[in-house]
Every structure is written in structure tokens, then in C-alpha cells.
């Protein structure tokens, strides 16, 4: 069951400058996300859902407002602090998988652990665990091009989980997958939320994908609908 808020967003706005025109991507959004929650962020293209996700994950900055994740206002962290914070607290899953093509599945999952002080043995153990969790323990020596789309996305999920982050952000993770693979990926994300108490934020425009979440939030023209 959901607990205390892990994400607290207050009066968050993001305005882009496109030439002479100001484009409002987010307009004074306030939102709480509970720990262990599987939140689906829905909305049409350009509604600001990805921008909101990026700010929560600390890879984009708002124009105004605050965004606290586990009590840390990420909008106030500098570049280096943000990088460390992301490594320790955020797991990313992208639409296009974004695995490093020259690394095996095992090495791709191991990548975030290179920034930690873990020994080689500990790293191997954590990578094994993460790959087992997504059902790909037998594919660890495969390069991304030797995997199917669904398998690639599961490797990406393993990479997101390997540092044991409290928050997993997934930006259209099923956008490039067939329906069967999409179901598998969404089921894994739901399991993470339900059994491992991970907070999962899923950006999607697909109602079927959103149905896997425990709550759905709609955005429209940068505002909560």
C-alpha cells in the first residue's frame, strides 16, 4: 500500500524559449506521489508529461517551483550533486531502450555500478540478481543486437534496478514494443511496485499501459487535468 509521499511537487513551471516565443510546458503543477506507488502520467503529445518526468528524475530543471524527492529539492542541486543523486536514487527506462551497443547485457546492467565503491564480486552478484528479476539470466553475454526489442527493454529495466533506486522513471517504455513484449515489461514494472515497494512513474499515452498503474494522472497543456 502507498505510504508517505516520496515526490512532492509544488507550483512547478517550465517555460521554454523557442526563438522569440515562450512555450509553457508545465504550468504551476502541484503533485504528491506516494512511496511504492505505480503512477501513470497520461496525456497527449506536448502535454508536458515527459518534461515533468525529466524534472522529477533530475535531468531537466524547472523555471520555477520545487520538486522534492525523498526530502531533497532536486531543483537546488548543482550538476555534480545531481549526477550523484541520480545514480543513487533514480532508475531510468527509455522508449528506445538506449543500451550501449558494444556492451553485453551483463555489462550494460553493470554500467551504473561502475560509479559505486562495490567490489567486482558484489557488482556481479547485483547484476545477476537484476537480470534474474527480469528473466534474462541466460542472455547476459548477448549484445543488444542479439536480443529482441522486449529483451532489450528488460535489460534496460535491469539496468534501472541494479543500483536499487527508490524511484524508477519510465518514459513510454512500451512505445517500441509489440503488445506481448509490452505486457511483459509493464508486468515487471507493476511487480517492482507491488513486491519491491519501488515507486514507478510511467509516462504513456496508451490507456492499456496506464491501466497497469495504481493511479493515473492526466496532463493537458502543461496542467493537471
Amino acid at each position: 500500500m502507498p505510504g508517505a509521499p516520496i515526490v512532492v511537487i509544488r507550483e512547478l513551471s517550465k517555460v521554454y524559449r523557442q526563438g522569440e516565443i515562450n512555450v509553457t510546458a508545465l504550468n504551476s503543477i502541484s503533485l504528491d506521489i506516494q512511496a511504492g506507488e505505480f503512477l501513470a502520467l497520461m496525456g497527449p503529445s506536448g502535454s508536458g508529461k515527459s518534461t515533468l518526468l525529466h524534472i522529477i528524475a533530475g535531468i531537466d530543471r524547472p523555471t520555477s517551483g520545487s520538486c522534492e524527492v525523498q526530502g531533497v529539492d532536486v531543483t537546488r542541486l548543482n550538476e555534480t550533486e545531481l549526477a550523484d543523486w541520480r545514480n543513487q536514487n533514480i532508475g531510468f527506462v527509455f522508449q528506445t531502450f538506449n543500451l550501449i551497443p558494444v556492451l553485453t547485457a551483463f555489462e550494460n546492467v553493470e554500467l551504473p555500478l561502475l560509479l559505486t565503491r562495490l567490489s567486482g564480486r558484489e557488482r556481479r552478484r547485483q547484476v545477476q540478481t537484476a537480470l534474474e528479476l527480469v528473466g534474462l539470466a541466460d542472455r547476459q553475454k548477448h549484445l543488444p543486437r542479439q536480443l529482441s526489442g522486449g529483451q532489450e527493454q528488460r535489460v534496460a529495466i535491469a539496468r534501472a534496478l541494479v543500483t536499487d533506486p527508490s524511484l524508477v522513471v519510465a518514459d513510454e517504455p512500451t512505445g517500441n514494443l509489440d503488445s506481448h513484449s509490452a505486457q511483459e515489461v509493464l508486468a515487471i514494472l507493476r511487480t517492482l511496485s507491488q513486491t519491491a515497494n519501488k515507486t514507478v512513474i510511467l509516462v504513456t499515452h496508451d490507456p492499456k499501459a496506464a491501466a497497469f498503474g495504481s493511479r493515473t494522472v492526466h496532463l493537458e497543456k502543461g496542467e493537471l487535468a
Binding site: A83, F94, L111
Partner: protein, 381 residues
Amino acid sequence: MSIETFIIRNALRNKRRAALTVLSVAVSLFLLVTLLVAMRELTQPPEDVGAALRIAVRSRISIANLLPARQRAVIERIPGVEAVSPFSFFGGKYRDEELTMFAQFGMDPKQLRPIFGEAKMPAEQYAAFEADQRACIVGKITADKYGLKIGDRMPFTSTLYPCDIQLIIAGIYSGTIDDRNVLFHHKYLEEASGTEGQTGLWWVKAASIADMGPVTSAINRAFANSSAEVRAETERAFQLSFVSMLGNIKLFITAICSVVVFTLVLVSVSTMSMAVRERFRELAILKALGFRRRELFVFILAESFGLAAVGALVGIGGALVLFTQMDMSRVTQGIMLTFEVTPRIMGLAGLVAAGLGISASIAPAISVARMSVVDGLKTLD
């Protein structure tokens, strides 16, 4: 997986490009080393072992001006002088050659061993050389090149004197820094050319290192304000005076070296920029995963530096092996004698490679540092 493995995998992801980059660095550095070695050899000619005690005495006005034979007795009387020999360049063409690549000098055969002791030859050949006024001795390189042997005749037509000479080989020497020259009797030159009592220059052997300075000064003083003033100088200084005749060859070679290095920098910067640009999205992913600007810079620097280092190893190492194994004196027909790849030259080329590795990584590293994760993720593969 270690960070090193990750860097190596990235560097080798496009093997053809990596190989071509390494090859371009290697070829350029090989060329750079070759030019530096050539410049060193031209501007700092190698010295013979006996050079430290030898003094060249030439006309103060010009090396083309002949000196009177009477100076010999004056020089021989100077304390510290051990031996004196006239020495004149004949400038002959061998047989019907258009350009003869070895020099012929007239000298006093009796002073050969005292002054040019490093020329090794059996005693009977020395004796035969001294005994016959038409005799000559030939350096081993020339003898080998023309297949010459003792007793063979060597006809020369001079480009400087109005005469031809016909020499008979009495000996074949080796052991000097330039075993190409032909040495013959100065007396024969004087008689054949009608220049009795004149010499191109004097070679003087000092008794010891300590005598070099006083003897040099004494020779210069002895003929000061005479009709044939001289310039006495060490063999080294004498050699370098010839180098100055090469004009701005140093500037010319330096200009070529600079162009080589500059082109190399452009090629490397372009290659690294291309390599980084095509994986901007991956670098954005690394940033998202928590890699900092500093770490990404290290990745790019290490990759660029690594490729430059391998190129340097191949280029500089190749030059070292090739020029050590190859007889460059033979290849260049004696124009280059030792063609030595010195540690200093290797160090300089290594520094160029290191600078190259660093400079090639700066522009891509800056663009990656400036890139936001969101913008990087939008980059197309």
C-alpha cells in the same frame, strides 16, 4: 567490466575508423621523426672519433681561396701541433658519371695515420699508398658500390682544376664516419693541375685536448695581417660552417614538420568529434545514469589519447626499427650517414602525439559537457 574495458570497447567500436586513425597518426609521426632525424643529421653532422683533436685551417676570405704551402712549416713549429697535412678537394667526376656521389681529396699520405687514425687499413696498404704517387685509397662504401679492388684504376675529370687524373687503388679503408671518400697524393694533384705550392686547406692534429685552444689561436695569430690570413677552427665548427651554406633548410624542414603536425591535429580532432557526435545519445544516457562531466571527459580523453598513443607506438617505433636496421648511408648514397633516431627525437614525437591526443579530445569534451541530458536523448542515432 572495468572502466578501462569500457573505454577500449568504445575506441574499437568502429574498427575501420580506429585503424585508419591509428594509421594516420602513425604515418604522420613516422614522417615527423624522419624529418627531425634528417634535420639533425644535416644541421649537426656526426663526428669522427678523432675529431676532437683535429683543427681545420682555411682561408679567412673564403674556403674557395687556396692557401700557400709555405704556411705548413709555420704551423708545424707551433707548440702542441702533432701533424699537418694539406687537403684539397678535387671535385672530380668518376668515369663518365654526371654526378659523382663521393669526394676525392689530395693529401699528404704520410700524415694519414697521425691525423685520420680512425681510418682502418692493413699496414701493407698504407705502405703501398705512401710509396706510389699515383696511388689512392678508397672508402669501403665506394669500393663496395663500384665493385672496386686493389690495383683497379680510377679515372677522374675535375670540375675545379683544368686536368684529369688517373689513380690506382692501393688500399680500401673503413672505420671513419663517412667511408666514401677517395684520398690521393697532394703532390700528384699539384703536378697535374699546375697548382704547386698551394692547398685548399690544412688539417692539423693537436697533441692533446688541452692544446686545441692554444694551437687554434696560435695559427690564427701566425697569419694575421698576412696576404693569406686563415681561420683555424675545430672540425665541428668547420662542419657547421658547411651547414650554414645549406641556407634556411632548418626553417624549411621545420615548416614541413609544422604542416604535418597541424594536419594531424585537424584529422584527429575531426575523427574524435565524429566519433563522439555519433554517440551523443549514449553519452546522454551515461549522464542520466550518474556519470559526471569529469568522467565523460576522461572517457573521451582516454579514447583519443589511446588512439594517438598506439599511432605513436607504431609510427615512432617503426621509424626506430627501420632506421636502425636499414643502412641509410647506402640507401641515401652517403648523403645521410648515421640517421639516428635519438631519444630526444622520440621524446619530441611522443610529446606531439600526447598533445594530439589531448587537443583532439577538447572540442568533443566541451560539447558533451554543455549537452543537457534531455537534448542528448533527443539526438538521433
